[in-house]
C-alpha cells in the first residue's frame, strides 16, 4: 500500500520521499497500467509557492560610475502629476519565472506570456487537449515519461525499465528517434521542453540551483531517464530570460490527423529580423531524438542571411545533419526538414 504526502512548502516537498505527482496525467496512467512501480507519492497540488508566475527583478546594476543626479529644485516643485512608479519594463527585467505547478492552460492564458513570450504561450495553450491542459503542469510536462509503445506496454522490459534491450531497434520504430544518442530510441515526449530549449530557459531545481535547459535535458544517453535530474530532486520553476520584443516565432507539428496527436516530428523557431536579414535565431526539434535538440547548424546558416525562401530552405535542409535513421523511420528525415522549414516560414511570416 503506497502512501501519499501533501507538503505545503517547497522545503517540505523537497524533503518528502517518493514519486512526485503534479496534475497526475502521466503518473496515474503509468500506475494504472502497471508500467512503473507503485512507490509512495508526494502530491504537489497543495504547495502554493509552486504555482507562482512573475517577473524577476533586474540584476543589480553597478551604479558607482554614474551616480544619479539628485533632482533639481524645479523638478521637486513642479506642478506635474504626482510622482508615479516608473512603468515596468519587462525587457529590462531579470526575466520571467513560471512555477512548476502552473498548468498548460494557465500558461496559454497568461497575458504576460502571450505578450512577451508568444511562442511559449501559443504552444502551451494549444498542446494536448483542453482537458489535459487544464491539469497538466509545466514540470509534469517536462518530466512525463516517453510514450514509446514498448515502454508503455507492461510486458516489455526495455532499457527504460531496467532491461537490456530497446525493442524498437529491431522492430517497429516508426515513431522512434532518428538521432542515435543512446541505447534507447524512444523520443522525448515533451513539446514544452523543446520550446524552452529554444528559449534558452533555465530550470530551477530545489528552489535554488539553476540549470540551463540544455544541461537539464542532457545528452540522451542514459536510457533510464529523460533528463539529468538526480533521484528525488524537485523542479520548482522555469526561468525565462528577459523577453525580446522583436522576436517572431513559428511552430510546426507533423501529424496525420488534424489535432490532439503526438508529433511524428515537431520544430520550434524564434527569430528576429534586422531589416531583411535574420538576426538572433533559435531552432529546436522534437520527436526525433531521446531529448529535444537545438539545431545549431541550422541557426548558424541563417544568421545574418536574408530571409528569403531559398535561404530558409537551404538552412532547413541541414536539420537532419548527423541523423542515423532506422529503416522504418527514414521518413522522419524529410519530415524534420519540412517541419523546420515550415516553422521558419511561419516565424518570418509573422508568427504562429
Amino acid at each position: 500500500m503506497s502512501v501519499v504526502r501533501f507538503p505545503v512548502t517547497v522545503e517540505e516537498a523537497a524533503a518528502s520521499p517518493g514519486e512526485y505527482r503534479a496534475g497526475g496525467t502521466d503518473v496515474m496512467d503509468r500506475r494504472a497500467q502497471g508500467i512503473t512501480p507503485i512507490e509512495d507519492l508526494v502530491d504537489l497540488t497543495r504547495v502554493p509557492a509552486l504555482r507562482a508566475m512573475d517577473w524577476l527583478p533586474a540584476p543589480p546594476i553597478d551604479t558607482s560610475e554614474s551616480p544619479e543626479e539628485p533632482p533639481t529644485e524645479e523638478e521637486l516643485t513642479s506642478e506635474a502629476e504626482a510622482p508615479t512608479a516608473p512603468a515596468f519594463d519587462p525587457v529590462a527585467s531579470g526575466g520571467f519565472t513560471i512555477g512548476a505547478m502552473v498548468t498548460m492552460a494557465q500558461m496559454g492564458r497568461s497575458e504576460d506570456l502571450r505578450t512577451w513570450y508568444p511562442g511559449l504561450a501559443g504552444v502551451a495553450g494549444a498542446g494536448a487537449t483542453p482537458q489535459i491542459r487544464a491539469v497538466g503542469t509545466l514540470a509534469g510536462n517536462l518530466l512525463q515519461r516517453p510514450r514509446c509503445w514498448y515502454f508503455r506496454h507492461p510486458e516489455f522490459k526495455c532499457f527504460k525499465k531496467g532491461g537490456h534491450l530497446c525493442y524498437s531497434r529491431s522492430d517497429d520504430h516508426s515513431l522512434h528517434s532518428i538521432f542515435d544518442l543512446g541505447p534507447s530510441r524512444a523520443v522525448h515526449p515533451s513539446t514544452l521542453a523543446m520550446v524552452l530549449l529554444a528559449y534558452d530557459a533555465d530550470v530551477e531545481v530545489r528552489g535554488g540551483e539553476h540549470r540551463s535547459m540544455e544541461a537539464f535535458l542532457g545528452d540522451g544517453a542514459d536510457p533510464l531517464r529523460e533528463n539529468t535530474l538526480e533521484d528525488g530532486a524537485l523542479v520548482t520553476a522555469i526561468v525565462l530570460p528577459p523577453p525580446r520584443p522583436a522576436e517572431r516565432w513559428g511552430y510546426k507539428r507533423a501529424i496525420a490527423r488534424r489535432r490532439a496527436e503526438w508529433p511524428l516530428v515537431e520544430a520550434h523557431v524564434r527569430l528576429e529580423l534586422e531589416g531583411a536579414s535574420i538576426g538572433r535565431v533559435a531552432v529546436a526539434a522534437g520527436a526525433v531524438a531521446p531529448v529535444p535538440m537545438r539545431l545549431r547548424n541550422v541557426e548558424a546558416s541563417l544568421r545574418g542571411k536574408k530571409a528569403t525562401q531559398a535561404n530558409l530552405e537551404a538552412a532547413a535542409n541541414l536539420a537532419a545533419t548527423g541523423a542515423s535513421p532506422l529503416p522504418g523511420n527514414a521518413y522522419k528525415v524529410a519530415m524534420l526538414k519540412g517541419c523546420v522549414l515550415e516553422a521558419l516560414e511561419r516565424a518570418v511570416g509573422g508568427g504562429s
Partner: protein, 934 residues
C-alpha cells in the same frame, strides 16, 4: 444524497467512511477529501492512487461518466472541475479537495441548451461518448456566449474545443452543428422533437449500459492474458494474486495442457471488491507455459516449412471455444465472417483456400490475364497491382462488458452485445442450462460495429466468477484488452490483374487473389465484391485465409468490403486513365445498376465533381476529387418476431433485438407508427431483453429488413383487433382502420379514445412472402440473401500536403440507394458515421504487434488513432428517392453500404490530386511522402 451514505456506498472503491486527520507532509494511506459534487457537499476518504472516475462510478453510483480509454485520449470521462473540464480517469481523487465537480448528472434539472441541441440535431448514435461531449460542450457553450454573445463559433473553434473527445460512431458532423447552434442561442427555448427515441436518456447520462448495472454486492473482474503467442499451459499459481487485498476469487479460464494461440489470449480471471485491485491481481497471476514455435504474421505463416497453426481443419468454431477444441483430432480456427464460412478447396500450409465460389469463368479469366501479359499488339490493357490494408480494430468506446449474476440456477447477464437472442442460446449451451434459465439484457449498447456478435471469454469469465463467488461480477475489457480480443478487421493483401480492351473500352477479365490476414480465424471473403460489380467480364476470384498466431478476425462493418472496393475502384480509375476516359463515364459504361446510374446523374451535376479540374498542380498542397461506387447485400434473418401491444398507456413494440446506436429502436417505432398513423415518438419501444420475442443480430445490415415489415404487420393486426372491438363497443357502422384510429361513417374515432376503453391487445407479426424472391432460395445460418443489391456512390475531395504527408478530407458527398428511409435524420447520422469510420480506416488506423511475441503495441487510443471531430469534413448525404419495389417494407439497411466505399473514394481522390496511386491502407504521412513527397 447524504455524504455519509455516499461514503459507505463506496467502501470497496478505495473509499471508506473513516477519516484521517490531515497534517502537512505526513504520510496517508487514506486521504480525507472535502468537495462539492453536483452541488452537494461530500466528505470522502480515498486511497492515494484512486482516480476521480473510480470515486464517481464505483463509490457514488454516478454512472453517467464513462470509462472508455483510461488514458485521457477519448474524453468519455470528462467532468467539470470548477470552471475547467478534466478527464476524471486521470485525475487523482485527492485533487478535488475544496473544489466543485459537475458531472452529466449535475448539469441541471432543466436541459442545458447543449443537451437540447444534441437531441434535436441527433448529435449522437450509441450515446456512450455523449455525456463527455455534452459536459465539455456545455462548458464551452457557456464560456463562448459569455465572451462573444450569441454568435456561432467557427468549425475550427469547435474543433479545438472538442479536440479531447472521440466518437467511434462518427457523429461529428451533427455534434459540430449542435454546438454551433447552441452557442448561437438557437436552442434556448423548450426542447423540440427529438429524432431518436432514446436520445433524451443519452444526453442526460441516464441511459444505463452493461457496465452501469450495479446490483448489490457487485464484484469487479479482470483477465490475465498469455504473454506468449503459442504455448501450452502447464500450470497455474494463484497464491500471489489471491493475497492482494480485496481479491475474492481467482479462476482459470483454460484447463492445464490447453494451447494458447495468440499473445493476449485469456487464460485466467479474478474477481475483487474494486476494479484497481482486480487488475493488480490479474497481473499477479502466475501461469506456467511451455513455449512453442509461433508464426506471427502472414509472411511467416506462408513461409516454406512454417509450423501449421491449424492443420487441415474444415470448419470454424465460435471464438469462446478456441482453446476448447484441442482434444479433437483437428482443432479448428474461429469464424471471422458474419455468416457461414464459404467452402474452400482445402489448406496449403497455413493458407485456407482458395475459396472461389464467386468466380465466373475463372479459367478463362486467368487465360486472358496471361495473354494480356504477353500482348505486344496493344489490343489489351493490363492493370496489375497489389493493394494492402492493415488490420483495423473495432474499438467501440464502450468496452465489451458483462455484469452477470446467478439466482439459484437462473443466470442473468447484462451484456454489451449485438445479439441478445443468440447470446442467451450460446450461454445456455456453454453452461449447460436450458434457455429458459438464461436472460441476456442489453438495453443500451455503446457501439459494436460487428465485434459484439459473439460469446467471448470475458463474458464466460464474468459468469464463472459470479457462480464461484455467489455474487454479481462485472468484467469489462480494458482498452488494451479491447485492442487484442475486442475484435478486428483482418488485414488484406489483394493481387489484382484486370484486362480491358483498348478499342472497345470494355472490361474483359479480372483475376483477383486475396490473402486475408485473419489471425486464428478463417472466413473472410474479399474478392467476392468484384463479382457484384461490373458484370460481363470473366472473373477469377480467389480468397485465402492465412492463419497465424494472432488474435482472431471478427466481422467488422462491411467485412471484406473496404479493402475490396479500395482495390476495385482504384483499378477502375487506373483503367479509366489509361483508356483516356472520365472515371464517371467509364462507370456508366460498365455499370448497369439502375440505382447507381440514378446516383451517377446526381454526381454529374454536383459542383464538387463537375468543377474538380485536372487535379494536382505543382504546389505543396494539392487537391483532388475521387469517386467510388459500391454495393452491399440485403440480408434477412428469417423467422424474426416482433410483438405489438396496445393498452391504456398506448402502443408498445417489443423485440429481442438491440440498439447499438444504429437506431433500431427508432426504426421500430417508425415502422409501427407509420402502420397505425401515430407519431413514432408516442410508440413505446422495448428491446435488449432475450425474454422478448426473438429478434435479429445487429449485423449484416439486416435489422431493418428483418423486423420492420414484421413490426408493421403486428401493428396492423392489433389495429384490426381494435377495430373489431371498437365497432362492437361504439356500434360503429362502416368502421375500418385508418391513420390515427378507426374511420367510420360518423368520422374518425382516434386511438386515444379507443385505447383506454378497449381490452389490451397483443399480436406477433408475420413476414409476408418476399415479392422479389431471394438470391439463394434457402436460408443459410438463418440468413436469407435478398435478390437485389443496394447501391452507393461516394465522392470525396481531399487536400494532400506533399511536404509533410498529411491528407485532409475536405468534402464528401454520399449517395445511397436503399429504398425507403424509415428515419431520415437517423439514416443521415448513420451514413455520416460510416463515412467518418471509412476515412479513419483509410488514413489513420493500424493495429500493430511486435515481431518477437506478437503482442499488440498499438494498445491504446493514443497510438491507435481514430478520427476526431476536426478530421470530419462536411458530409452531404443523398438518398435515392424511390422505394425498392419488390422488397417487403420498401427499404433495407445501410449501415455497411455507407462505409465500404469511403476508403476507395479517398484513394481515388489522392491519386487525382497527386498522380500517385496509394495502394496501402492506412495512407500514412510517410507513405504519402514516399509516393508524392515534394
Amino acid at each position: 444524497m447524504g455524504a455519509a451514505q455516499e461514503a459507505s456506498a463506496g467502501e470497496h472503491a478505495g473509499l471508506s467512511a473513516e477519516s484521517t486527520a490531515s497534517a502537512a507532509a505526513e504520510p496517508h494511506e487514506r486521504v480525507t477529501v472535502e468537495a462539492t459534487i453536483n452541488g452537494a457537499d461530500v466528505n470522502l476518504s480515498v486511497a492515494p492512487n484512486t482516480s476521480l472516475l473510480t470515486v464517481l462510478r464505483e463509490g457514488l453510483d454516478l454512472t453517467g461518466t464513462k470509462l472508455a480509454c483510461g488514458h485521457g485520449a477519448c474524453g468519455a470521462c470528462t467532468v467539470q472541475l470548477d470552471d475547467d473540464c478534466v478527464c476524471s480517469c486521470l485525475l487523482p481523487a485527492t485533487s478535488i479537495q475544496g473544489r466543485a465537480v459537475t458531472t452529466i448528472e449535475g448539469l441541471g434539472d432543466e436541459l442545458h441548451p447543449i443537451q437540447k441541441a444534441f437531441l434535436a440535431e441527433d448529435a449522437l448514435q450509441c450515446g456512450f461518448c455523449t455525456p463527455g461531449f455534452v459536459v465539455e460542450a456545455a462548458a464551452f457553450c457557456d464560456g463562448w456566449r459569455a465572451e462573444h454573445g450569441d454568435v456561432e463559433p467557427s468549425d475550427a473553434d469547435v474543433g479545438r474545443a472538442m479536440a479531447g473527445h472521440l466518437c467511434r460512431c462518427g457523429a461529428y458532423v451533427a455534434i459540430a452543428r449542435a454546438i454551433k447552434g447552441a452557442c448561437a442561442g438557437r436552442f434556448d427555448g423548450p426542447a423540440g422533437p427529438a429524432p431518436r427515441v432514446d436520445g433524451l436518456a443519452k444526453v442526460t447520462g441516464r441511459a444505463l449500459y452493461s457496465g452501469d448495472m450495479r446490483p448489490r454486492g457487485l464484484l469487479y473482474g479482470a483477465l490475465a492474458r498469455s504473454p506468449h503467442p503459442h504455448a501450452l499451459v502447464t500450470g497455474f499459481d494463484f497464491r500471489a494474486a489471491g493475497q492482494i487485498p480485496g481479491v475474492v476469487k481467482v479462476v482459470a479460464l483454460l484447463e492445464d495442457g490447453s494451447r494458447v494461440r495468440f499473445a493476449g489470449q485469456e487464460v485466467a480471471a479474478v474477481a475483487a471488491r474494486d476494479q484497481a485491485s482486480a487488475e493488480r491481481a490479474a497481473r499477479a497471476i502466475v501461469v506456467q507455459y511451455e513455449r512453442l514455435d509461433a508464426v506471427l504474421d502472414m509472411d511467416a505463416a506462408l513461409a516454406e516449412g512454417a509450423p501449421a497453426v491449424f492443420a487441415g481443419s474444415k470448419a470454424a468454431v465460435p471464438v469462446h471455444k478456441l482453446a476448447e477444441n484441442d482434444d479433437s483430432p483437428k482443432p479448428r480456427p474461429t469464424n471471422a465472417g458474419e455468416g457461414i464460412v464459404f467452402p474452400a478447396r482445402g489448406w496449403q500450409g497455413n493458407a485456407r483456400g482458395p475459396a472461389g465460389v464467386f468466380s465466373a469463368q475463372g479459367r478463362k479469366a486467368r487465360k486472358e490475364v496471361v495473354a494480356a501479359r504477353t500482348d505486344t499488339t496493344g489490343a489489351t490493357l493490363l492493370e496489375e497491382r497489389r493493394y494492402e490494408a492493415a488490420v483495423q480494430v473495432h474499438t467501440a468506446l464502450e468496452p465489451h462488458t458483462s455484469t452477470a449474476w446467478w439466482d439459484g440456477d437462473s443466470l442473468t447477464v447484462c451484456m454489451s452485445t449485438q445479439a441478445v437472442s443468440d447470446m442467451r442460446d450460446d450461454l445456455a449451451h456453454f453452461f449447460d442450462l436450458k434457455t429458459s434459465q438464461v436472460t441476456v439484457k442489453a438495453e443500451y449498447v455503446g457501439g459494436g460495429f460487428g465485434a459484439k456478435c459473439r460469446l467471448q471469454m470475458d463474458t464466460v469469465a464474468a459468469v464463472k466468477l459470479a457462480r464461484e463467488c455467489g455474487k454479481p461480477v462485472q468484467v469489462a475489457l480494458t482498452r488494451a484488452g479491447e485492442m487484442v480480443t475486442g475484435g478486428l478487421r483482418p488485414g488484406a493483401r489483394i493481387d489484382v490483374a484486370a484486362v480491358a480492351s483498348s478499342a472497345a473500352g470494355t472490361l474483359k477479365a479480372v483475376e483477383i487473389d486475396a490473402w486475408n490476414d485473419s489471425g486464428v480465424a478463417v472466413g473472410t471473403n474479399t474478392s467476392l465484391f468484384w463479382r457484384l460489380m461490373y458484370p460481363g467480364a470473366a472473373k477469377s476470384l480467389r480468397d485465402f485465409d492465412v492463419v497465424s498466431h494472432a488474435p482472431p478476425g471478427e466481422p467488422f462493418r462491411g467485412p471484406g468490403g473496404p479493402a475490396a472496393f479500395f482495390s476495385l475502384e482504384g483499378t477502375v480509375d487506373e483503367l479509366a486513365g489509361r483508356l483516356g476516359m472520365d472515371p464517371l463515364a467509364l462507370r456508366r459504361r460498365w455499370d448497369p445498376n439502375p440505382i447507381r446510374n440514378q446516383l451517377y446523374d446526381r454526381v454529374e451535376a454536383l459542383p464538387l465533381w463537375r468543377d474538380r479540374g485536372g487535379g494536382g498542380g505543382g504546389g505543396r498542397y494539392r487537391r483532388g476529387v475521387g469517386l467510388a461506387s459500391a454495393t452491399w447485400f440485403y440480408f434477412i434473418q428469417n423467422n424474426m418476431q416482433v410483438q405489438v401491444s396496445s393498452s391504456s398507456s398506448g402502443f408498445k413494440v417489443s423485440c429481442a433485438t438491440q440498439d447499438m446506436g444504429n437506431g433500431a429502436k427508432t426504426m421500430l417505432a417508425q415502422a409501427v407508427g407509420a402502420a397505425l398513423g401515430v407519431p413514432y415518438s408516442e410508440i413505446q419501444v422495448e428491446v435488449g431483453d432475450s425474454n422478448l420475442p426473438r429478434g435479429p443480430v445487429s449485423s449484416g445490415s439486416r435489422t431493418t429488413a428483418s423486423v420492420a415489415p414484421v413490426a408493421a404487420d403486428a401493428a396492423r393486426q392489433v389495429a384490426a383487433d381494435l377495430c373489431e372491438v371498437a365497432i362492437e363497443r361504439w356500434e360503429l357502422s362502416g368502421g375500418e382502420v385508418a391513420p390515427g384510429g378507426i374511420k367510420h361513417e360518423g368520422g374518425l374515432l382516434p386511438w386515444s379514445e379507443i385505447l383506454p376503453n378497449a381490452p389490451e391487445q397483443t399480436r406477433l407479426g408475420k413476414r409476408g412472402r418476399e415479392p422479389n424472391g431471394w438470391y439463394f432460395p434457402i436460408a443459410v445460418g438463418h440468413i436469407l440473401v435478398g435478390n437485389l443489391a443496394p447501391a452507393s456512390v461516394t465522392v470525396t475531395e481531399v487536400e494532400v500536403d506533399t511536404r509533410l504527408g498529411r491528407i485532409t478530407p475536405l468534402n464528401v458527398w454520399a449517395g445511397i440507394g436503399v429504398g425507403r428511409i424509415y428515419s431520415p435524420e437517423l439514416a443521415t447520422s448513420q451514413v455520416q458515421g460510416g463515412i467518418v469510420q471509412g476515412l479513419s480506416y483509410a488514413l489513420y488506423e493500424e493495429r500493430l504487434r511486435d515481431n518477437m511475441f506478437g503482442r499488440v503495441i498499438s494498445s491504446n487510443l493514443m497510438n491507435y488513432r481514430i478520427a476526431g471531430l476536426g478530421d470530419a469534413p462536411p458530409i452531404e448525404v443523398h438518398f435515392a428517392a424511390d422505394p425498392l419495389d419488390g422488397i417487403a417494407g420498401g427499404g433495407v439497411g445501410l449501415g455497411e453500404l455507407c462505409t465500404v466505399g469511403a476508403a476507395a473514394s479517398i484513394g481515388n481522390a489522392v491519386a487525382h490530386a497527386t498522380g500517385w496511386r496509394p495502394t496501402r491502407i492506412p495512407i500514412r504521412p510517410d507513405r504519402v511522402l514516399e509516393g508524392a513527397g515534394s
